[in-house]
């Protein structure tokens, strides 16, 4: 025990002597959360709209007015020539084009079926799908189509996030992502650096046990990780006003479980690489990118093909994101989250066991 403490003290001193490193640990997560929190927004608003209305009528003007008033669309211009409307989409100046036929007003006045054309840039699918459904709803509403008084009336109750703000979903996710980026990278470097500089041999001749060395290496990062969680949670709740409905101690307990995984992963990478460059490539491609893409951070896991879904089970962030979002938005407790917590514990112990084993083998 004393050995561990002495070793810990040495590690802390080393960290303190490198204020630039300390700065890099604390400031970027906050700056990134603020920046990315504003940027990571999938809500579809202010979609650029171009209108082609060769013979404007009261109805067509009213329609355009309604689309713009909805705030879902921003009118970026009128194109007189129907054949050139597509060029606005090509140039990326408009995402949606509304094209009225020349006799639109006349047809509406006569009560015959008039048709308007919507051109949608489908390359951005999320925007396209949502914009298309908004536009058709607004148009059909305005013209009273499908206004039936009887029939089935759907009553929608959206839970946890009634305003359907994608920010509420993304920001708790960012907490997990930032934590991964900060801690995995750090630990991945910790041992490789010593290997490169040859200080690992020095540790070899000391009577310290491999587990002690690892513990001493990791505890400072663990504390920094928890500090990062605290800062990021403060920014998420105070700055972005994301509700934190569940238990804060539970959140920190789970963060600790998750840190076991990120630190274990970083350690594993460092025991597998010979140079810092290899560690960097390994951390970026094997740890960070899968965490971003396969964790459900933005891409829904249930839409992935079964094989890829199976892969997501070994991505620790997957479980942590369910936990963080559960605690933040749903306010649920251990009874709803124990499976994810268990998965984190098992994965974490596995990663740790594996890296300790690799580490011991390297020492001999």
């Amino acid at each position: 025990m004393e050995q561990v403490l002495a070793f810990l003290r040495k590690e802390f001193r080393q960290l303190r002597r490198d204020p630039r490193m300390l700065f890099l640990l604390i400031v970027p997560p906050i700056v990134q959360l603020v920046l990315l929190g504003y940027a990571a927004n999938l809500d579809v608003r202010h979609v650029p709209l171009v209108v082609c209305d060769p013979v404007p009528s009261a109805t067509s003007r009213d329609l355009v007015q309604r689309l713009v008033a909805s705030t879902y669309f921003d009118l970026v211009g009128y194109e007189p020539d129907a054949r050139r409307v597509g060029e606005w989409l090509d140039r990326g100046e408009a995402t949606v084009a509304l094209v009225f036929p020349p006799d639109f007003g006349k047809e509406v006045a006569q009560g015959t079926t008039a048709s308007v054309q919507l051109l949608v840039d489908g390359s951005e699918t999320n925007t396209a799908t949502v914009a298309l459904s908004y536009a058709s709803q607004i148009i059909q509403h305005a013209l009273g189509v499908g206004a039936v008084s009887a029939g089935v009336v759907p009553e929608l109750r959206v839970w946890f996030n009634p305003a359907l703000s994608s920010r509420w979903f993304i920001i708790p996710g960012l907490v997990g992502l930032l934590l991964t980026v900060m801690t995995t990278v750090l630990t991945a470097l910790a041992l490789v650096k010593e290997k490169e500089t040859g200080t690992l041999e020095q540790l070899l001749v000391t009577p310290l046990r491999p587990a002690t060395v690892l513990l001493g290496k990791l505890v400072p990062f663990l504390l920094i990780g928890l500090l990062d969680v605290l800062l990021v949670v403060l920014v998420a709740t105070l700055w972005f006003q994301v509700p934190l409905r569940g238990s804060i101690p539970l959140l920190f307990g789970c963060a600790l479980l998750f840190l076991l995984n990120t630190l274990g992963l970083g350690l594993l990478i460092s025991t597998l690489s010979r140079t810092q460059q290899q560690a960097l490539i390994g951390a970026a491609f094997f740890a960070l990118m899968p965490m971003i893409i396969l964790s459900g951070f933005v891409f829904p896991i249930e839409s992935m093909p079964p094989v890829i879904q199976a892969v997501t089970y070994i991505v620790p962030l997957r479980y942590f994101l369910t936990i963080v979002r559960g605690i933040f938005l749903k306010g649920v407790g251990i009874s709803a989250l124990w499976e994810e917590m268990l998965a984190l514990l098992v994965l974490g112990l596995l990663l740790f066991g594996l890296s300790t084993w690799r580490f011991r083998r390297q020492l001999h």
Binding site: R20, T113, V120, G151, L178
Partner: protein, 381 residues
């Protein structure tokens, strides 16, 4: 001529160093393509197979038909049938279901009587994108069901149904099936290449400084620009190899063919790779240790390229200040050009401003690196 020979010598030296670490070299070339395969399948916003829980308090023919209509679509998966609406709440909490449908006891009775018959949807709103899709699908299914019921009633009563007054004809361009993979794949390519290029070069100069091999370079009569070229060219070759592999995977596995000019594509890619290598090199000349270089490289590429480039989150949706910041992310320009040439088949005539800005970015990065290198040299002398 002598200058050229200098660059060549340095090039060979740097290249030998890369070759001596076959693990890194292999990872740099093959990993992006491998990850593209893995991630390419994962990238989708298309919402399918949403788990649905039902509480049918009516148990009538009409309520069963409504439920059947949900179950047969590819959008919903009927997971649970419960007797108590409160059970749905618990299932949503535990993420067993995303949507709960409650049909009240007098559902069929009201329909028959021609009165509005409410059904209740409980939607897990945590993921706003999924929730919006859910509400859209549910609304459409209910509307179709309701329309048919009302129509049958009108026909039975001897009325003629009214014609629709305005029809909306939608035409979707570039990606008619609205497959999100088509949109997301170029973004993934940009993401993988940026991380690969910056990661590859960010340690190159720092490493020599840490090991003290910089002094040897100072003794050789090299100009900083020669050093920059000698350092970046080998990595450029590696990155080109990786890009070719990536584009092949995109074409063969994901059917993302290049609609536009291949030469334009090559030019755009080259500009992007130079931007990435320049950024990595600059980091390498600024960072005092490999550890710090590593941190800066990850922080400046990983999340910014993912979130600020327009890869997934539309830039016009961001607040103006953040939009201004996206101009510092080279992937932003690359994505406009790449999506243009790959999906839309447009050419330089449309996206030349983006390519120009990308070239400017690359030029700036490489120039700054060479200035920094000169400083480092003077410091060592």
């Amino acid at each position: 001529m002598a200058a050229l020979r200098m660059i060549a010598t340095l090039f060979v030296k740097e290249f030998t160093q890369i070759r001596r670490d076959p693990l890194s070299l292999g990872m740099l070339i093959a990993l992006p393509a491998f990850l593209l395969i893995l991630f390419g399948y994962a990238l989708t916003f298309d919402v399918r197979n949403l788990s649905l829980g039902v509480c049918d308090q009516d148990g009538s023919a009409a309520s069963r038909e409504l439920i059947r209509r949900f179950a047969i679509t590819e959008y919903f998966d009927l997971k649970r049938q419960v007797d108590d609406p409160r059970a749905l709440t618990r299932l949503i909490d535990h993420e067993v279901i995303r949507v709960g449908l409650v049909i009240p006891p007098d559902f069929e009775e009201r329909l028959e009587a021609g009165r509005p018959a409410p059904v209740q949807f409980l939607v897990d709103g945590t993921n706003a994108t999924i929730a919006s899709a859910v509400t859209g699908y549910a609304d459409a299914i209910v509307r179709a069901f309701s329309g048919q019921v009302v129509l049958e009633q009108m026909l039975r009563a001897g009325h003629r149904p009214p014609p629709a007054a305005v029809s909306v004809e939608a035409r979707i361009w570039y990606n008619p099936e609205l497959e999100s993979a088509r949109f997301l794949l170029p973004g993934l390519i940009a993401f993988l290449l940026m991380v690969a290029t910056v990661v590859a070069t960010s340690l190159s100069v720092t490493r020599e400084r840490e090991r003290g091999t910089m002094e040897q370079l100072v003794l050789a009569p090299l100009e900083p620009y020669q050093l920059v070229l000698g350092k970046t060219l080998p990595y450029l070759l590696v990155a080109i190899g990786s890009t070719v592999l990536i584009l092949l995977v995109g074409r063969l596995l994901f059917d993302v063919e290049v609609r536009g000019d291949l030469l334009v594509l090559a030019f755009v890619v080259l500009a992007y790779l130079l931007a990435g290598l320049g950024q990595g090199l600059l980091i390498s000349t600024v960072a005092p240790s490999q550890q710090v270089a590593f941190q800066i490289a990850i922080i400046s590429t990983l999340l910014p390229t993912f979130i600020l480039s327009g890869f997934v989150f539309p830039i016009y949706n961001m607040p103006p200040v953040i939009q201004a910041l996206t101009y510092l992310v080279p992937a932003r320009y690359f994505l406009v050009a790449l999506r243009g040439v790959m999906l839309k088949g447009t050419g330089l005539a449309v996206f030349w401003p983006d390519v120009l800005l990308l070239l400017l970015f690359a030029g700036l990065m490489l120039t700054l690196s060479s200035i920094r290198l000169r400083r480092l040299f003077q410091h060592l002398m």
